[in-house]
Symmetry: C2
Subunit: 358 residues, 2 copies
């Protein structure tokens, strides 16, 4: 029996994915050269659809990597000479910080407990930090940072670069790319695709920084998927190395489907489904929402503390044909995580709630 | 009309790929968690199939990256403190060398002209080179290095690490992994899959080197897909970050299909098809094999100089339902490249030869 995946990534595939995959196979997309006009047309199409969906201006390029985790490394290599600054409140924002340490950058840490969120007023960025690393949606704890707060931070520290990890929320957050220098996501979350492709959005300021580090500071910005090489190939819609052509094609098609629905509608549907889930959890005696502050509650990954061991809840739900995620790390046995991505409908969320109620 | 792709990567998909992809969709492989037992079973299966196919001993781990180009960077980061040594005779072996320079390693270069190959007796490795970087099959020029020569080199320089780029030849070369420390390939060549997955084989000696660089030399070995993190997760058949689960599944299934045929048969079929192609080129007045020395002629990527502009040849072949590659770089207009991977049969090679003859 087919299950409905409410897991926070990999997640339920978007319903149209199967048809697009069939078309791709019929058109032999898996065999075409990444130096052909056909590939350049695919890259251009996906670029345009993402640009429309996320309102990305011409100042920003859109690049492809093997995963979003790879982008953690790439953006730190290319945009930090000495110091980065990290807001950390969960396992994934911490990994971003850990990557900076692994690259021997001086990484400043502003930490909050698991389950708590950041507001603009909390944050003081050290004077010499070059890159502010924010996580819009902390997948491990279900905490979200409001985009208004992200924008205020950039306005206050306008000379610093700001990068936003929106791995498990894009295309939901309405980031203002006239302010935000860089952002990235992976396709196995809200885009409803199999894992294997990262998407990196970066502007001219990021590129100039990378070029300066290479030329004048004699610093390595890495060798593979450096921003200067990605950008120079991007000018003709090519990539430095052979990319995941098939997934770039599929991403363009899914983004086109999203654009047909309209990003406003997708955001409203996301909020409506999140409202249903949190309303249920607030009223339930068997569950409670893990994130206490309403303004920090993720709209795309809803985390609930369970009265019963989470394994019992998960197996009950599974027998009804649905899969929800375990809690993360030490919360594995006391929490569940419910992904609220566009691939699951209001009706499916309703079915899940009814099952959780039993 | 469906074309038969004789391009050297991306290339013709292996005939069973479609069925495996359908099964993967039916089993919802695109949605399963990379922290689930189901994923660990998939990784273990693919690992076992590749181990059987390539005779990889327990001393070596098998890891997954976004691409083989990424492995160029990873192996240099993890296995070189100061100096690497590179045999360069084409565009891809040169990129490997360029990556070393980008990472600020001192990269020694032993170069031969495009189209020429290396023999054991040619090669003197500098005293302080830590890693010998060899390209078994130079995709740009169709030159191959004999595995016997690769093995002799390792025996002579037994204290140095040897890594073999077998991107466009694996599983053809019968590398002796009791000697060879590391090798890597991508799946869109001879494994007949879409691009989007790199496979990195590395032994304990490579791991120890990476750990030494990290701990005692205070050197960064990168942050993403470092050998120590890949290896520690590999112990339980997991990966540090979300990998391309679907392609790991497909690779295991294709490797299983290869094992059913038997690697000896696959190698003999490869040699038989290569023999047909070179015999035709040698006898033809319209074409000539680019690589003059028989012992350096690639068995998996056959490069021919064309009398007519290559574009005319390519378009003639295309009208007959087949796609061959252009020459690489400055040979784009005067050469064609014909991939000889397991996905194309003896009959299909025969059809191509008949068409080229017209």
């Amino acid at each position: 029996m087919k299950q409905t995946y409410f897991t926070p990534g990999p997640a339920e595939l978007y319903p149209t994915l199967y048809q697009h995959l069939q078309t791709a196979m019929d058109e032999q997309i898996g065999s075409i050269s990444h130096r052909s006009q056909k590939f350049r047309d695919i890259y251009k199409f996906t670029d345009q659809q993402l640009r429309t969906l996320l309102t990305i201006p011409d100042t920003h390029g859109i690049f492809f990597t093997g995963s979003a985790s790879e982008v953690w490394e790439r953006v730190l290599f290319n945009c930090v000479e000495h110091e980065s600054f990290h807001l950390v409140n969960g396992s994934f924002s911490r990994k971003f910080y850990d990557y900076a340490n692994s690259l021997h950058k001086f990484a400043h840490l502003h930490e909050k407990p698991f389950g708590e969120g950041f507001d603009y007023a909390d944050v003081e960025v050290p004077e010499y930090a070059e890159l502010i690393c924010l996580t819009h949606n902390e997948t491990s704890s279900g905490v979200q940072m409001r985009t208004a707060d992200i924008h205020k931070l950039k306005r206050k520290y306008s000379k610093k670069l700001v990068v936003v990890d929106m791995v498990s929320s894009a295309p939901y957050p309405d980031l203002d790319f006239s302010l935000i220098d860089s952002a990235f996501f992976s396709v196995q979350k809200a885009f409803g695709m199999p894992a294997g492709l990262g998407v990196w959005i970066a502007n001219q300021a990021c590129l100039e920084k990378a070029e300066r580090l290479q030329k004048y500071e004699n610093l390595t910005v890495g060798a593979h998927n450096t921003l200067p090489t990605l950008w120079s190939h991007y000018k003709t819609f090519e990539t430095p190395a052979t990319p995941n052509v098939l997934f770039i094609y599929l991403l363009g098609k899914i983004a086109e489907d999203f654009n047909k629905i309209g990003i406003d509608t997708i955001r409203k549907q996301t909020e409506e489904k999140a409202r249903m889930l949190y309303k249920f959890l607030d009223a339930s005696e068997a569950y409670s929402p893990f994130v206490k502050q309403d303004r920090h509650r993720s709209q795309t990954v809803v985390v609930a503390t369970t009265q019963k061991p989470s394994a019992d809840v998960i197996s009950g739900v599974k027998q009804a044909g649905m899969v929800v995620g375990t809690g993360y790390g030490k919360f594995k046995e006391s929490q569940i995580r419910i992904a609220n991505f566009p691939a699951v409908s209001i009706e499916q969320v309703d079915t899940l709630i009814n099952q959780l109620q039993k």
